[in-house]
């Protein structure tokens, strides 16, 4: 990506409440980048593979970072992750899982498909807020992304 270019974050979350909480925390922590929120796994795939309404690369730019929930309607998060990782154009995109699931199997699976980071939504509101803050700092401030191809 080019210097100064805003970071595009693809955020996939089916639960409206959780989406709201996350978005609010983004705002609160001044992560003022483009956050594209999608509701299920199928939508995410359509977006990434530029299907249907997401065919236009202008309107639907490839994200720099994907924040993905696991338990999603239609196509679940693991499958989305797998598809991203098995596509040459997409596999580089840093993908972070954000989910309520602490199940070992989910964590193992996610890492098996080369997830970059696995975050569990904390029950405690403050902790949730801190998590998003840390996430913001790490990925937006500290992390270096590759130059766009």
């Amino acid at each position: 990506m080019k210097e100064g270019e805003p970071l595009v974050i693809l955020f996939i979350e089916d639960d409206p409440a959780h989406a709201e909480i996350t978005m609010r925390n983004f705002k609160k922590n001044r992560i003022s980048n483009t956050v594209i929120h999608l509701w299920d796994g199928q939508q995410a795939l359509d977006y990434l593979f530029r299907q249907g309404e997401y065919a236009d690369p202008e309107k639907s730019p490839l994200p720099h970072l994907i924040l993905l929930d696991l338990r999603l309607p239609k196509v679940d998060g693991i499958e989305v992750l797998q598809r991203i990782r098995s596509n040459d154009n997409l596999k580089w995109i840093p993908t972070v899982i954000l989910t309520t699931s602490e199940a070992e199997i989910d964590i193992t699976k996610a890492y098996n498909y080369h997830v970059n980071s696995y975050l569990v939504k904390p029950l405690d509101f403050t902790k949730f807020s801190n998590l998003i803050e840390a996430f913001g700092f790490y990925w937006v401030v500290w992390n270096k992304f590759p130059q766009a191809n």
């Binding site: 409206p16 959780h18 509701w39 299920d40 338990r71 309607p73 196509v75 029950l123 509101f125 949730f128």
Partner: protein
């Protein structure tokens, strides 16, 4: 001078004649002198007198003065003429006894003459002479003179004396020796016979003797040895009368109407007179009865027994052989000059039992006659034509008068027995082998539960010996904690005859306990009496381990709940607590017992009572199904605590409130959410408990008896080994872990191991089992039976193998030992223990009184010292076992009636009380009129042979019935070769269980080719099976047999070369169980997942928005507050619903009312009524199609099922202008005519991409649709609880959906 009596007589006569001639010539002389002149006559007389060869003496009668004597007198009496003439005879001492002269004179005066009087006179030298004295009176002028002739008979007298003695001796001898003498004349008059002849003719005294030949012909019969009558003209005497000499004329002489037969050899000599005509006949009769009887006996014994007997000299030339021997050995006349061993060799190839060709010097005949050894053997003789014959042979040196004279052989053709035995043994071996090798332990017990046999696997596993285990010895390998129960149940089963089943641990030889599912079933005879029990023990350790893992999971979760920081209570409609969790107790300070049954109001703080009542009432009335609020409880010690309570109502399908679930927590605790999480875990526990319940009902599965266990990676290296394998191989664990398997494999066995590994690796098989050799650390080899199973990862790639290794070197060694002892046994083996007996049938009226004679060996067979008992028929019958007596009597009676020989097998009681089995062959001799004369029998002790046969037969029968009754399918095959290659196999025998496992009729497949039966050009697993049949190494694999949908483990073993048996273990149930367990584990995982995600999710929301709410309240942001509250409410609702439905789901299948029946129509209609509003709103029409069916089960659940399906259909109707739902059923011919129910809609359908997620818990296709996503999971659970399956068809979005399902017990209603 030796003269016979007749000669003597003749001489005397001659003498008499001479005296007469002399006298007449003297008288003639006298007359001549008187007539023709004295001188001349006198001269003549003088010459006659002097030259007479007899001694003559002329003397005066009155005083005995001797007038003259002749020269013979001088010579005879050694007296000179001068000394005698003129003197009296008395004076010269001529008379031995002077009185004799007086007698002579007296006699002369009365008779005028004396002739042939014997006199003793003395010679001049005083010797005594015996003379024949004759005298005539002469008149010499006026004085009477005596002319005496004296013939010296002294020598004759001596001879006569000697002869008389000899005659007396001869007479005594003639009368006392066996030979009879008969003298007859040529007219057939019997002149005399001696004592023996009288005896032979059964005359008691000389007076009874018959005098004429024709009388003998009337009274006696003479038969040729063959029993035909000798015509009178051919009688020995008749032949002799015609001048024939009769020599050794052997006949049987029998008095008419008298049983006693004499075997007589006649010799007859006609005595010829001077004219060459026979004058009289001397017959000599030799009574051969005894000898004939003996030889006939021996002949009879020899001929009536099947035993062949050959006696031969040291050169091997046959002295004699009976017909049986000739039949057996096929001895040919032209080979007569060869030795016996060579003759046998010429006709046969002779093999030993262990299949070795016999050399000449090893022939029994050779050994006995040349080497002087005693040999007992069973040999296989193969004719040039290839015809085989089994001979039981005993050979011993023939010792005659202490000298080794040759050999004697007794032999019998035992081909039939051998073949039968062989067949029986093969069968027995075959079945035993099968029983020994099938994977589960099998055993047999008698009707009292006494176990007399276990299969090999059992011993291999327990490391015990048959001696230790026999009877009740098995208790030694049981776990002491289980033994009492096991014994009690087992004994009860034996008592009642009910099938026995139990599961218990058994100790392996390593001391490890493994679990076994054990069953025993009774085998009954035709009358229904239990004769045996068959049992099996299957290793279910693995299954239990799985169960255990599950149990541990459950316990772990249980632990989680117990540590959960959320209180959960189940409350009935009267607000009484039914169940409480630990945490609830903890928060409230009560024990569980105290809380249960308490009304919720009793623990509610008085300030909150009113509100509590109100909320509960509203919940009860159905105003809402969930509510939450903060309230205060009063702890046991009286202090109030602030709690956050969520209460949700559980309702039935009609909406009736059944009970409530309350969750609460001390809200001062900041861990509310986590508690809620645990609350859901509590629910999980209930469900998991349900699973446990099901599992306990699972049937057991087999596993292989594992001894040494090793885990081996894909590079053939050991990654884990147990202690036993280290012991087997002599390596330490650390050493073994450094090794690759091939490094310790015996090089010859590497290729096979590689092949098997490859097959495993490529997934061809999941399991292989074979025998191989390992090299122990000390370099020695060890035979092991190895079972390898592949462990595959998720992609099915083979990653590791687990091997179980059994040390079978002991078995291999035992097999060798067994063979050795068998050989020794055989050598010691079979004795031709043959005795003989004879009954003389002389008393037909009272046959019991006929004399019976036993040979020494017969005595021994009956357990007596030879001759130590007086043997009678009664004595014999007393020795026969009572129940066999009628058989023996009848057999004999029948043989007598039908005039034939007989054979009878019966039991006897020996002198020592032992019972023995004998076989008797007897031959009966009959006379020409068919009356029995004699019975000659041979008796042989066959106890050992019979016992062996019996035992074998019994054992064969046992194993055969095991084969018939065993639950494993077993099939026996024979490989069919073409051009030396296996091309097919033939099914020889299969058992009934085979039919069950394969679906093929077990009777009709026997004898058919596999290619034919399985309808394929190469029958299944041909190469593998051929390998087993050739190498004898067992082979074991898993397979799925599609035609009947069964999972089978096939163990192929080879009972004999070229043959193999397959043992089918049906593991379909196990597979099913495994699958079920797997499914349940998946479900479990799903629940854990649900707990950690779906239930947590609303909590996160509630927590966060509660915080936002606080912020918004502080900021007085009204809009924000509403939004926050809205989120909180939604999340709480959602959570409540989730909990409800999870509960609902967990309740399915337990705590249900009893099952009832209802028509599909009724059920579906109830469901339609429940969702009528929704259907109406969407304008959905519902139709019924198909046959009327009756459902059976929990009807409420069925209504729920249809309600959910209808709900689902309504939900996903999409934009369908004419929405309809079809409810129906049909009979599915592809599913065994099972009734399939269905619900079809023409709604939006299901995208094929999401088909796999449909029945998942909390899976929703769409966030916009209402519901928690539990509906289909619920449906599926209802179907499964009712033994059915559910699936659906949908061609995709917009094409509608049909849900199909089956329910156990569904039936078509026939009107």
């Amino acid at each position: 001078m030796d003269l016979s009596v007749p000669e003597l007589k003749q001489q005397i006569e001659t003498l008499e004649r001479q005296v007469e001639t002399l006298t007449s010539s003297y008288n003639e002389c006298l007359g001549l002198r008187q007539q023709n002149g004295y001188a001349k006559t006198d001269e003549k007389f003088a010459i006659a007198f002097r030259s007479n060869p007899n001694a003559l003496m002329l003397s005066y009668e009155d005083d005995g003065t001797i007038i003259d004597i002749n020269d013979s007198f001088v010579n005879l009496f050694k007296r000179k003429r001068a000394d005698v003439i003129g003197k009296s005879a008395l004076s010269i001492g001529l008379y031995d006894d002077p009185a004799k002269r007086e007698e002579i004179i007296e006699q002369l005066r009365s008779n005028g003459r004396i002739t042939n009087r014997e006199l003793k006179l003395r010679t001049g030298t005083g010797d005594e002479r015996v003379v024949i004295f004759s005298t005539e009176v002469l008149n010499l002028g006026d004085r009477r003179a005596l002319l005496s002739t004296l013939q010296d008979i002294t020598e004759s007298k001596k001879t006569e004396e000697k002869l008389r003695i000899e005659h007396n001796i001869l007479e005594a001898v003639v009368n006392n020796i066996g030979a009879g003498f008969v003298v007859a004349d040529t007219e057939g008059n019997i002149l005399s016979m001696n004592e023996s002849a009288l005896k032979i003719h059964d005359f008691r005294s000389e007076e009874e003797k018959l005098d004429q030949l024709h009388q003998y012909v009337d009274e006696f019969e003479i038969e040729y040895p063959d029993g035909t009558l000798v015509p009178p003209a051919k009688w020995p005497l008749a032949l002799a009368m015609k001048g024939e000499y009769v020599k050794d004329y052997r006949v049987r002489l029998k008095k008419r109407n008298y049983k006693n037969v004499k075997y007589i050899s006649y010799n007859a000599v006609p005595v010829h007179g001077n004219e060459g005509k026979p004058m009289f006949i001397v017959l000599t009769l030799t009574d051969n009865t005894e000898i004939s009887r003996r030889s006939t006996e021996i002949e009879s014994i020899l001929s009536c027994i099947a035993e062949g007997v050959v006696v031969y000299d040291r050169e091997g030339h046959i002295i004699r052989a009976n017909s049986a021997a000739e039949n057996i050995l096929k001895l040919k006349e032209p080979d007569k000059d060869l030795a016996l061993a060579e003759r046998v060799e010429k006709n046969y190839r002779v093999w030993t039992e262990d299949k070795r060709l016999l050399k000449t010097e090893e022939m029994p005949a050779y050994k006995a006659s040349v080497l002087g050894e005693t040999v007992k053997n069973e040999l296989l003789l193969i004719e040039a034509s290839g015809y085989p014959k089994w001979i039981n042979i005993s050979a011993a040196p023939l010792i005659i008068e202490g000298k080794h004279a040759g050999g004697i052989i007794s032999m019998s053709d035992v081909t039939a027995r051998k073949n039968a035995e062989q067949k029986l043994r093969e069968n027995e071996e075959k079945f035993r082998n099968l029983a020994d090798n099938i994977p589960p332990f099998t055993w047999m017990a008698d009707e009292k539960g006494y176990i007399f046999w276990f299969n090999k696997r059992f011993f291999e596993y327990t490391g015990s010996t048959p001696e230790e285990m026999e009877g009740w010895g098995w208790t030694k390998v049981h776990h002491p904690d289980h033994l009492d129960r096991v014994m009690k149940r087992f004994r009860k089963a034996i008592e009642t005859g009910a099938t026995w089943q139990d599961t218990f641990p058994l100790r392996s030889k390593d001391g490890e306990y493994r679990w076994f599912l054990s069953r025993a079933l009774p085998i009954r005879d035709q009358s229904g009496k239990i004769i045996r029990w068959f049992g099996s023990n299957s290793d279910v350790t693995e299954l239990r381990r799985k169960e255990d893992t599950l149990r541990k999971n459950e316990q772990r979760l249980h632990g989680v709940f117990n540590n959960a920081a959320i209180g959960i209570v189940e409350v009935d409609i009267n607000d009484r607590m039914i169940t409480v969790n630990d945490r609830a107790c903890g928060i409230l300070g009560y024990t569980r017992e105290e809380l249960i049954g308490k009304n919720i109001r009793e623990i509610t703080s008085p300030e909150d009572l009113e509100r509590t009542n109100e909320m509960n009432t509203r919940l009860h009335n159905g105003e809402f199904s969930i509510f939450e609020y903060e309230k205060r409880y009063v702890k046991r010690e009286g202090t109030p605590i602030c709690v956050h309570v969520t209460v949700s109502a559980v309702r039935d399908a009609n909406g009736k409130h059944l009970y409530s679930i309350g969750t609460f927590d001390d809200i001062s605790e900041r861990k509310k959410a986590e508690e809620a999480l645990r609350k859901s875990e509590r629910l999980y526990r209930k469900i998991a408990g349900d699973l446990r319940e099901n599992e306990q009902r699972l049937q057991a599965i087999f596993d292989y008896a594992a001894i040494g266990i090793a885990e081996v990676d894909e590079n053939d290296r050991f990654v884990e080994v147990n202690g036993h394998i280290c012991d087997i191989l002599g390596y330490r664990r650390e050493e073994l872990l450094q090794k690759a398997v091939h490094e310790i494999t015996y090089p010859e066995d590497i290729p096979h191991s590689r092949l098997m590994n490859q097959k495993l690796h490529q997934g061809e098989i999941d399991l292989s089992s074979y025998e191989k050799r390992y090299i122990k650390k000390d370099g020695s080899l060890i035979w092991v039976n190895i079972t390898i199973s592949a462990i595959r990862n998720l992609e099915g790639r083979h990653v590791r193998t687990v091997r179980t290794i059994e040390d079978i070197s002991a078995r291999k060694k035992a097999e060798e030992n067994l063979k050795q002892s068998e050989t020794i046994l055989k050598q010691a083996g079979f004795m031709a223990n043959l005795g003989a007996w004879v009954i003389d049938y002389i008393n037909p009226e009272e046959p019991q009184k006929n004399p019976l004679i036993w040979s020494d060996q017969t005595y021994r067979i009956f357990g007596y010292e030879p001759g130590s008992a007086e043997v009678t028929n009664d004595f014999f019958y007393e020795r026969v076992v009572p129940s066999d007596r009628p058989l023996v009597r009848e057999t004999l009676a029948n043989a007598l009636k039908e005039r034939k020989s007989y054979t009878v097998e019966h039991r006897i009681t020996r002198a020592d009380g032992a019972e023995r089995k004998v076989v008797e062959h007897a031959e009966i001799t009959f006379d020409s009129s068919g009356n029995p004369l004699r019975i000659v029998g041979a008796v042989q002790d066959i106890t050992e042979r019979k016992l062996e046969e019996e035992k074998l037969r019994e054992s064969e029968e046992k194993f055969r019935s095991l084969f018939e009754n065993i639950t494993e399918g077993v099939a026996l095959h024979e490989i069919v070769y073409k051009d030396g290659k296996p091309v097919d196999y033939r099914i020889i025998d299969v058992n009934p269980a085979f039919q069950e496992h394969t679906g093929y009729d077990y009777q009709s497949v026997k004898g058919r080719l596999a290619s034919e039966v399985y309808n394929s050009s190469e029958p299944p697993f041909l190469q593998e099976y051929a390998g087993v049949a050739e190498s004898g190494k067992p082979y074991r694999f898993n397979t799925f047999y599609a035609p009947i949908g069964r999972h089978l483990i096939i163990s192929a073993i080879s009972p004999s070369k070229g043959r193999f048996a397959t043992v089918f273990e049906d593991i379909t149930e196990q597979k099913k169980n495994e699958l079920e367990i797997k499914k349940k584990n998946e479900e479990l995982t799903r629940f854990i997942y649900t707990v950690s995600h779906d239930l947590k999710s609303p909590l996160v929301t509630i927590k966060s928005f509660t915080a936002y709410l606080k912020e918004d309240i502080a900021a007085q942001d009204k809009a924000g507050q509403d939004k926050d509250i809205n989120y909180i409410q939604n999340a709480a609702d959602k959570m409540g619903k989730l909990l409800d439905e999870l509960l609902e789901l967990s309740r399915i299948g337990r705590k249900e009312k009893s099952k009832t029946s209802a028509t599909l129509r009724t059920v579906a209609q109830s469901a339609i009524d429940l969702v009528a509003g929704r259907l109406a709103n969407n304008n959905i029409k519902v139709e019924f199609t198909g046959p009327s069916v009756m459902l059976y089960g929990h009807i409420e659940r069925f209504i729920q099922l249809y309600q959910n399906l209808l709900d689902n259909a309504a939900k996903f109707m999409g934009d369908q202008p004419r929405p309809f739902v079809e409810i129906g059923a049909f009979i599915d011919s592809e599913r065994n005519n099972e009734i399939v129910l269905f619900v079809r809609d023409n709604g939006s359908g299901i995208d094929p991409r999401y088909h796999h997620k449909i029945f998942g818990l909390f899976e929703k296709m769409d966030n916009t649709t209402e519901g928690t996503g539990i509906g289909l999971a619920l449906i599926k659970r209802i179907v499964e609880v009712h033994g059915g399956t559910i699936w659906f068809e949908s061609e995709g979005a917009g094409k509608g959906t049909t849900f199909y399902f089956t329910l156990e017990g569904t039936q078509v209603i026939n009107n």
